[in-house]
Symmetry: C2
Subunit: 216 residues, 2 copies
Amino acid sequence: MTPTITAFERSPDGGKGLARDMRVRWALEEVGQPYDVRLVSFSEMKEPAYRALHPFGQIPTYEEGDLVLFESGAIVFHIAERHAGLLPDDANARARAITWMFAALNTVEPPIVEREQVRYVEGDKSWYKERLPILEDRIRNRLGELSSRLGDAEWLDGAFSAGDLLMVMVLRRLDGMDILDDYPNLSAYVARGEARPAYKRAFDAQVAVFNAAPTC
Amino acid sequence: MTPTITAFERSPDGGKGLARDMRVRWALEEVGQPYDVRLVSFSEMKEPAYRALHPFGQIPTYEEGDLVLFESGAIVFHIAERHAGLLPDDANARARAITWMFAALNTVEPPIVEREQVRYVEGDKSWYKERLPILEDRIRNRLGELSSRLGDAEWLDGAFSAGDLLMVMVLRRLDGMDILDDYPNLSAYVARGEARPAYKRAFDAQVAVFNAAPTC
C-alpha cells in the first residue's frame, strides 16, 4: 500500500528542504518506497480534521491504510523498521543507530531550532542581539562534541543509517548561521548525506512543490 | 546479563526524580529487569573515559555486555523492544506508541527544558523576567494540544506504553512552574503514572542515592 505524507503547500524555507517532510521523503527514497504527498496550508493544519491526524498541527503526517503517524522521527523509524537499508541487521549496531536518531532529535536539534526561531519570536526585542551569542554557544558545544565523536569516520556508527539521516537533516537547519563551517568534518558529513542519490531525489521532489506553488 | 546505567552522584534536582536516569529506572522496573547503577560526578562526566560512553557527557548511559547506549529515549526503547510490557503487540498500536515517545522528546520536552534552564543561563540578565511569559506561552501551546488529544482517556493511546512513560517524565519537568495545574486532565495523567508500582520503586531508588550522597 502506498503511504501518503503531508507537506507544506508553501514551505517557509523557500524550497531549501529544511521542513520536516524532507526527512521522511529521504527515508522513503533510501528504501525505494513510492509515496503520495498531500499538500496542506497553514490554516488547514490548525483545523480539527488535521488535528485528528496530528495533535500538534504540524507536518509531516504519514497515512498507510488504517495507520496514522506523526513526528518525523517516528515516521522515519517506522520506514526503517519495515524496509532494509536504514538500520543494521546486527542487534547491537541497530540499537546504536537508533540511539543516534534520538540524539539528533533530542540533544542536537533543540538548540538549533531555538536559534532558528528566535528571529521570528524575539527579533523585535531589545535583547535580541545580545542573546544570539548565548544561543550560538549552546549549538557550538553540541557540535564540538559531535565533531569529536565523528572524527574522520564517514558516518556516525558504521554504515549509513536512519541515525545519520536525521543528524544530517538536523545539521542542515544551521543553514544561514555561519556555524557549521567551523567544523569541517561535520560539513563534509552533511555534504556526504546530500550527495546520496536518494537525498537528491527527495530534495528535487520537495523543491518542485515549492516552485509549483502560486506566488502570494 | 544485568545492565548497568549511570546516574548523577549528586542530582541537581534534590532527589525529585527529574534527572533522565529516572526514565530508564522506571522502564526497567516496569519490565522487571534488575539493573546496576554506577554513580558519576559532574567532573567525571566530562572526562574522555566517560565521553567514550556518552559523546555529550550526560547521564544516563546503558551498558550491557558489549553494548553501550546513551540517550534516555533510545535506552527506554531498547528495554521496551526486548521485554514485554512497554509496547503493544499489535503492529499499528506499537508504531503509534513509538510516535508518542518521539513526540514527548522532540515536541513537548524542548520548550519545557528551555524554561527550566533559563534561570541558570540567563537569570542574571536584564531581560530575564520579560522573557518568562514568552517561554511559558510556548509550553502552554503544547500542553493545550496535548490536553485536547488526551481528553478523558487514561493513557495517550490504549494501554500504558513507553510513550506514556516518557510523556509523564517530560511533564514532571514542569515541577515548580505552576503551569500543569491549568490542565487538570494532564495533572491527573501524571498522577496516574506516578501511582504505578514500578514508578514508585524507581523513584525510591533514585531518592535513596540522593539521600546517601555526602553533603557538600
